[in-house]
């Protein structure tokens, strides 16, 4: 980490987004993570995504659990409310926050310990419940803050820094998210910002439970030979199925693609996901095929990345509950309290 404060002055020529904000307006405090941590790259990608999408920072709430990854919301979007909650329980806190005000954008940041071990239940249930959120797991396969224990996403056979081999099966959060009903599922690598930024943008503009598994090597405890979550290993085994561009509104597509190379998916909010195919036979709207493909490639030792599944007709928890359009936290006494006359009727029914 660095202890040098960031300069407050911005370069006057920094580009501005539609809201007149520069990229620096989306920054947070200085990171306290280790220099070179993959998580900091993900924070930078979140900053980039929010800036490019032109999200008003105060309209986004950033939620996390406990761990290295869960510390990061302090390091981006300083004008957003943030909540560093309880280990493994970010999903429930985010669900509650979302129920209270459906108008904000909810970004959940978690780690593999937070989501695959202590919080596996909440991870699963928040997704199957259909909470409208972008749930990012910064996946390094290791407990960083407690110095190097295996996490539940560590692959069987992967070696710890001390040379111990992991004998337990690794949990594939992407496979789980698909089965549980996530309507936007992607995997990426903290070292591939070009791939990661559009995936985050797509997630933030998705209406429904969006899940991103971002492999993010821990340079302190899990970046050695024998680890399957090291920079070198991930680079060697990364197999991207597509490249994504997220087009908001009517912005014309300027990149030229050869016919048949591009697949466009328009989401409910009008955003268009433009997918440049890297694999001819990969259809990200076919959940069963996606799940099969992931299993096959996993067996070959490959790490499949890209936008793996999207349901453009997705709904969320509020749709299912039929909640009023007005955020619940803005309802007034008149909206909420039935009054004395209603009470008199209740009393009469109880005699």
């Amino acid at each position: 980490m660095t202890y040098i404060l960031k300069p407050k002055l911005h370069h006057p020529s920094l580009p501005k987004n539609d809201l007149g904000f520069t990229r620096r307006d989306y920054e947070g405090r200085v990171s306290t993570l280790c220099a070179g941590c993959g998580h900091d790259s993900i924070s930078a990608a979140i900053i980039q995504s929010a800036w490019e999408l032109g999200i008003a920072p105060h309209r986004l709430a950033k939620m996390s659990g406990i761990g290295c990854s869960s510390k990061t919301p302090d390091y981006f979007l300083g004008q957003s409310h943030g909540f560093n909650s309880v280990h493994g329980r970010m999903p429930s806190v985010l669900t509650g926050a979302n129920l209270a005000n459906r108008d904000l954008i909810y970004l959940g940041v978690s780690g593999d310990g937070d989501s695959a071990s202590i919080g596996l239940g909440q991870f699963a249930h928040s997704i199957r419940r259909g909470v409208n959120m972008s749930y990012i797991v910064e996946n390094n396969g290791v407990y960083g803050l407690t110095k190097g224990q295996f996490s539940a996403t560590s692959d069987k056979g992967s070696k710890s820094k001390k040379g111990v081999e992991n004998t337990e099966s690794g949990i594939d959060l992407v496979a789980l998210a698909l089965q549980l009903g996530a309507t936007y599922v992607g995997r990426s690598f903290s070292g591939d910002k070009d791939q990661l930024v559009p995936l985050i943008k797509g997630a933030l503009s998705h209406h429904g439970p969006a899940f991103l598994d971002v492999i993010s090597p821990c340079i302190a405890f899990n970046n050695h030979a024998g680890s399957t979550k090291s920079f070198d290993y991930v680079r060697e085994h990364n197999e991207a199925v597509n490249r994504l561009d997220v087009i908001i509104g009517r912005t014309p597509i300027t990149t030229a693609y050869a016919p048949g190379e591009v697949r466009e998916v328009t989401q409910h909010d009008g955003s268009t996901l433009t997918l440049r195919k890297l694999h001819d036979d990969y259809d990200p709207t076919n959940k069963i095929a996606a799940a099969n493909y992931l299993q096959e490639r996993h067996a070959e030792g490959e790490i499949v990345t890209g936008l793996l599944y999207v349901d453009p007709e997705a709904t969320d928890l509020h749709d299912r509950l039929g909640t009023t359009a007005k955020p619940l936290n803005q309802l007034t006494t008149a909206d909420l309290t039935p009054g004395a006359a209603a009470l008199a009727k209740i009393n009469a029914s109880l005699r």
């Binding site: 129920l99 909440q122 509950l321 007034t332 004395a340």
Partner: protein
């Protein structure tokens, strides 16, 4: 107990004679359909204007295990359990022996005489009333399920003749009950009359008699869980997250029902969100998330749920997030005792979580207070920005009580506490999330999304300074902890104070009680007073204790603290928080899972006072 009639000697005691003052206990098999017949019996008496306290004692089971329904008829309005049984209706062979044993000498045994029973199954000092219920119903009905179901209404019919329940009242109740299924009205009425006519032709009314009265007045008959749920609706709760657990489940279900009725907009959209979660941890997590984001949120649970919620309750305390938890207390853990009542979560709730934490508790005494405190809890938790517990128990939560009608001040507005708005921020108001600006220990908060560039802060458990900046400095931590303590002192003045019930003459003896003990305690106090024991009594209604609570304790030399738990938890709280000397507070404890009775209290308190009479004369302090 004698085994055969031959061993019994002596004359049979005179039958108990009482008007509007007796206890009837039904023993049934769970799932046999008896609950609605028993409920009809109790409600009919209430409709005759005679106060009733009804308690369903049920197993952790859907079908097959024993269940009891105890109806206390009290023209004088005593609604606690009295103790003892005057008329037993044991319809469950599994529990027959115990049920017969319980009947007071001179009392009545009403039974199904279809199958002859040996003499050893009875007692000589009680009065036996046999009605061939099975035979009557087998003659009248062909379908086995009907024979069983209508047998229940049939015994209500026979009892109506024996104790003088007005059949017109039954007819009226059946009309109301089956308003939407009118075919069932004549069927049930027919079964009722089968029993009533048989009794009329073969039996004479017994010594326990009902007389119409106006002692019920405009009171309502309602469960505490339903009342608390209604309180949550009136208190403005919009988010409910819960996990099923006896005895709190019906609270969430009642909230759902009331919300469907009162919180559904014309277009069908809802002004509420209810989520049945995967466990209690997720439930409180949702509540904390919603509270953080400015919605009024609650969960309802019981002791095991509170255990699971501990970490989040601590987070709510340190991060200062409003949350309301209804804890419907029961015996525990596991299954079995969980369908029995206790007041055994006080310490668990008061000091829930790790680190230095303490939380306000509201202690309703009946469903009426479940409604008012259920609503008030939301104002308090918003005002105090912390978890507020409403401590029901199974006896209050799952039993129907006769209480005064619910009342609501139509002019009352929801109090959201110290929330800084966009306008306030825009006008340049100082915002320091954990800064005590008013001297009451309560800081201002902002809802997420309030203002584009002012008022955002990062929420953490601890490790922060007054401005919500990250800090691991000891001084910052201590400063925050002291402010939280100041806030807790502020809470003592905001929560409901105690209610004091003075003795008719000046006394130095006091008694402290709370919650569902209240009606039995009042009845016992009356009886103790009549027996010459003058006791000032104080009902504690909340934690932290206000100064009035300590003043009462210091104004008395000798105090009995009455609780329905083993470890004298209220007494511990008084000692810990008020520095009260242990020798100042004697415990009267009842914790077998059944609701405390007036007779138990009369005995236990009376004996204790008698035993200490000598000591008192030596010190010369008490009873002056």
């Amino acid at each position: 107990m004698p085994d055969t009639l031959a061993e019994i000697s002596g004359p049979k005691p005179a039958p108990i004679a009482a008007v509007n003052d007796f206890v009837v206990k039904f023993a049934n098999v769970n799932g046999s359909g008896s609950a609605s017949a028993n409920g009809l019996f109790a409600k009919a008496i209430i409709r005759m204007g005679v106060p009733v306290a009804a308690r369903n004692i049920f197993p952790s089971n859907i079908q097959g295990l024993p269940t009891w329904y105890e109806v206390r008829v009290s023209g004088a309005g005593h609604l606690g359990r009295r103790g003892g049984v005057d008329l037993a209706v044991p319809l469950n062979p599994q529990t027959w022996d115990d049920d017969v044993k319980e009947i007071s000498s001179g009392g009545y045994l009403f039974y199904d005489s279809t199958k002859p029973l040996t003499a050893s199954k009875f007692r000589d000092d009680i009065h036996i009333i046999g009605v061939p219920l099975t035979a009557i119903c087998n003659d009248a009905y062909k379908i086995p399920r009907e024979r069983q179901l209508f047998k229940n209404i049939c015994y209500v019919g026979a009892l109506s003749w024996l104790i003088n329940i007005d059949p017109a009242v039954i007819e009226q109740l059946l009309n109301e009950e089956f308003d939407s299924k009118p075919k069932l009205i004549p069927a049930n009425l027919n079964a009722f009359n089968l029993g009533r006519d048989w009794a009329k032709n073969h039996l004479t009314p017994i010594g326990l008699q009902l007389q119409k009265s106006d002692a019920v007045g405009n009171r309502i008959f309602v469960e505490g869980n339903a009342a608390a749920a209604l309180g949550a609706v009136y208190g403005g709760a919009t988010v409910c997250a819960w996990y099923p657990i006896t005895p709190s489940t019906s609270l969430a279900e009642a909230f759902t029902g009331y919300c469907e009725d009162f919180r559904t907009n014309a277009d069908g959209s809802t002004n509420y969100a209810i989520v049945q979660c995967e466990d209690e941890i997720a439930s409180i997590g949702v509540v904390v998330g919603a509270g953080w984001n400015g919605a009024r949120a609650f969960t309802c649970t019981s002791g095991p749920g509170i255990s699971l919620m501990n970490e989040f309750i601590g987070l709510s305390y340190f991060a200062e997030i409003p949350a309301v938890i209804f804890d419907v207390q029961r015996g525990g853990p596991s299954t079995g005792m969980p369908t029995r009542t206790q007041q055994s979560d006080l310490l668990l709730a008061a000091y829930a979580s790790h680190g230095d934490t303490k939380h306000p508790l509201l202690l309703p005494a009946d469903p009426g207070e479940c409604f008012t405190m259920g609503a008030q809890a939301f104002d308090l938790s918003d005002r105090l920005q912390t978890t507020v517990f409403v401590m029901l128990d199974l006896d209050i939560g799952m039993q129907e009580w006769l209480v005064g009608p619910f009342q609501w001040d139509g002019a009352k507005q929801i109090d959201r506490g110290k929330v800084m708005t966009a306008d306030m921020l825009e006008a340049g108001a100082f915002f320091g999330r954990y800064t005590d600006v008013d001297g009451d220990g309560i800081p201002f908060r902002t809802y997420p999304g309030t203002h584009p560039d002012k008022g955002a802060y990062f929420t953490r458990g601890t490790s922060r300074n007054r401005m919500a900046g990250y800090s691991e400095k000891g001084l910052d931590y201590q400063d925050n902890m002291e402010r939280l303590l100041k806030k807790f002192h502020t809470a003592a003045a905001l929560v409901p104070g105690p209610i004091i019930r003075p003795a008719s003459v000046k006394t130095r003896i006091g008694a402290i009680y709370f919650g569902s003990t209240t009606p039995a305690m009042h009845e016992a106090l009356e009886a103790l007073e009549a027996a010459g024991h003058h006791i000032d009594a104080m009902r504690v209604r909340a934690f932290p204790f206000s100064q009035d609570v300590y003043d009462f304790i210091h104004a008395h030399d000798e105090i009995c603290v009455v609780e329905q738990n083993r470890d004298a938890q209220l007494r511990s709280l008084l000692m810990i928080e008020g520095g009260i000397d242990a020798s100042h507070l004697a415990s009267i404890l009842h914790y077998d899972g059944t609701p405390i009775t007036a007779r138990f209290l009369f005995d236990a308190i009376g004996k204790r006072l008698e035993a200490r009479k000598g000591t008192r004369q030596v010190t010369g302090k008490a009873d002056k």
